[in-house]
């Protein structure tokens, strides 16, 4: 089950998970874990001439579960794209899996934000998962009965079982529901045993029981197989218990650390420059009140999402 690289690392370090890095590291102490999966130092990004976040310092070790939070349009998806090397950082240093972004993408599992397949897309879910395994290879496989093909088929079945998608994986993916498609896409991201998972709102279009099931699954993969996970989320509550670290993005700045340190009234007030209050219910849920919304310019694009009530992403009464 364990990725060979992860296995080697585990053997070297003893037990899983590796030591958690203390939060809010000053840039000088970035090399906490001996081999960070992601290291950002003073990173900033510009999209279409406009600066989004800047001054982001972050160091993520193997087997860490990190959430990226912030209001709509702040640049969370852009952060994922920077980590994939699809967009250059405007400033600072970005290292992913010990290389420049984009150099080690075959070791990364990526789930883009909100994709849904057209109902007329007549490709089976299992084929979509398979594309995650060998879709980037040139040429066509001529001999379908080799040991490698058998191993590939076994791996695909295994990962589909892992996400609980066996019953609908053999149907055309267009006929699957949004949540079913999401599970298949998570399987696609996992199929190559990545060392890093970049998940952009994977809980989107899942109902509450499925949100906790998928979160538990990702957390298990993260901690058992020592896979680093960066998950963009709108509501921190379903994943709060599993998180090692959060990165809060704001226009012009960012704050990272453990959830206890970052999701607090003083930190968020300082980050956003307006009074923000964080309430903690007896059940341990968090509610962030008074956090500014996305810049007015971009509110239209996200009008539908505001209605959903994103906790820790806007005004939200904890439930």
């Amino acid at each position: 089950m364990l990725h060979p690289m992860a296995k080697a690392r585990t053997a070297a370090e003893g037990t899983v998970p590796p030591p958690r890095a203390p939060a809010s590291e000053p840039p000088a102490a970035l090399t906490v874990a001996d081999d960070p999966v992601i290291a950002l130092r003073g990173a900033a990004v510009r999209v279409a001439g406009r600066a989004l976040w800047s001054g982001v310092d972050l160091c993520i070790g193997a087997g860490e579960f990190v959430a990226v939070l912030g209001p709509n349009g702040v640049g969370k998806s852009t952060m994922i794209k920077v980590l994939l090397g699809m967009l250059p950082a405007a400033d600072g240093e970005v290292r992913v899996l010990g290389a420049r972004p984009g150099q080690a993408n075959h070791r990364i599992g990526y789930l883009p934000q909100r994709r849904s397949f057209d109902p007329s897309m007549r490709i089976r879910g299992v084929d979509v998962v398979r594309l995650g395994l060998d879709g980037d290879r040139w040429g066509i496989p001529l001999w379908p009965f080799g040991a490698r093909r058998r191993a590939a088929r076994r791996r695909i079945e295994e990962v589909i079982e892992l996400v609980g998608a066996s019953t609908y994986a053999y149907r055309p993916i267009g006929t699957c529901s949004g949540g079913e498609q999401q599970r298949l896409l998570i399987a696609q991201a996992l199929v190559r045993r990545p060392e890093l998972l970049l998940l952009d709102e994977p809980l989107d279009s899942l109902d509450l029981p499925n949100q906790s099931a998928v979160t538990a699954l990702i957390s298990r993969i993260c901690h058992q197989e020592n896979v680093a996970v960066v998950m963009v989320a709108h509501d921190v509550n379903p994943i709060l218990h599993h998180l090692d670290r959060v990165l809060y993005l704001a226009e012009g700045g960012a704050a990272s650390g453990t959830p206890e340190e970052v999701i607090t009234s003083p930190t968020l007030t300082r980050l956003y420059g307006t009074p923000v209050e964080v309430l903690r219910t007896s059940a341990g849920r968090l509610a962030v009140i008074g956090q500014p919304e996305a810049p007015a310019l971009h509110t239209d694009r996200h009008a539908d999402r505001h209605a959903v009530g994103p906790a820790a992403g806007g005004d939200h009464a904890a439930g």
Partner: protein
Amino acid sequence: MLLAETAAGPAWSWNLITDVQEMWSFPFMVNAFRAGTIVAVVSAAMGYFVVLRRQTFAAHTLSTVAFPGAAGAVLLGISAVYGYFTVCVAAAVVIAAVGWRGGGGGADEAALTGTVQAFLPACGFLFIALYKGLLGGPQSLLFGTFLGITTSQVTVLLGVGAAVLAALALIGRPLLFASVDPQVAAGRGVPVRALSVTFLVLLGAATAEASQITGTLLVFALMVIPAATAQTTTGRPGTGLALAVFLALAATWLGLTTAYYWPYPLGFFVTSYAFAGYLLVRSGRTLHTWLSRTRAPLLYKEATA
């Protein structure tokens, strides 16, 4: 049309072997079958991706460009074959370049292709008007003909067809990835843009091939209908491709045979057979879905797998 004028045209005898033997005793029929076979295989394989990528509009544009290309070549005294290829591939490059500049597949591309679609057929008719001696008028270019396919034309079709298929085999898997899931494919380092340009150029060549059998107005008969039928039937990429090729071959062979005995344009017959296959599969599927829904909902999986 030649056959229609001979009073005693070939007659269908219900003895399949002698019929086929008689039909293939004419070298032009043998060439027509060779050309049709090559074209059917290439078009169906390309068509599978056209349907998957929803690029039927681009395919249609390329086919409308094929007509003035062929007419222009005839006017210049060159074989129509070269006209088809030159103009289709050039048009594919233009569409790809504009799509590239406009950020890929946007409204820009649609507007441009629409404009091109209106202008070029008009040129085609002008060329035909200028060249008065064209055999059978524009019909054979628009609706296809099997007459007068020479051995050298078959060789050209074979060479281009083999090149297109080889290129498609090479880029097949990344192209499938980029068609189904462009974002993840790009994340994996698949050159999504370059693939889409390459695909358009291949599509230009394939359209030029298909135009010569079905006529420029009916290239969808081999390019889209078999692939759409196959994708209605199966969700497996490999099986779907094979089925599309089989259906295109069946439509072409049946169409050629019918056109030999019946004095109507070849494109009409090929299209009719392909369309009949589509209707059959479509209604069969609806029936199957309906039956399995009334009996046991779980059977749906088998119906579509």
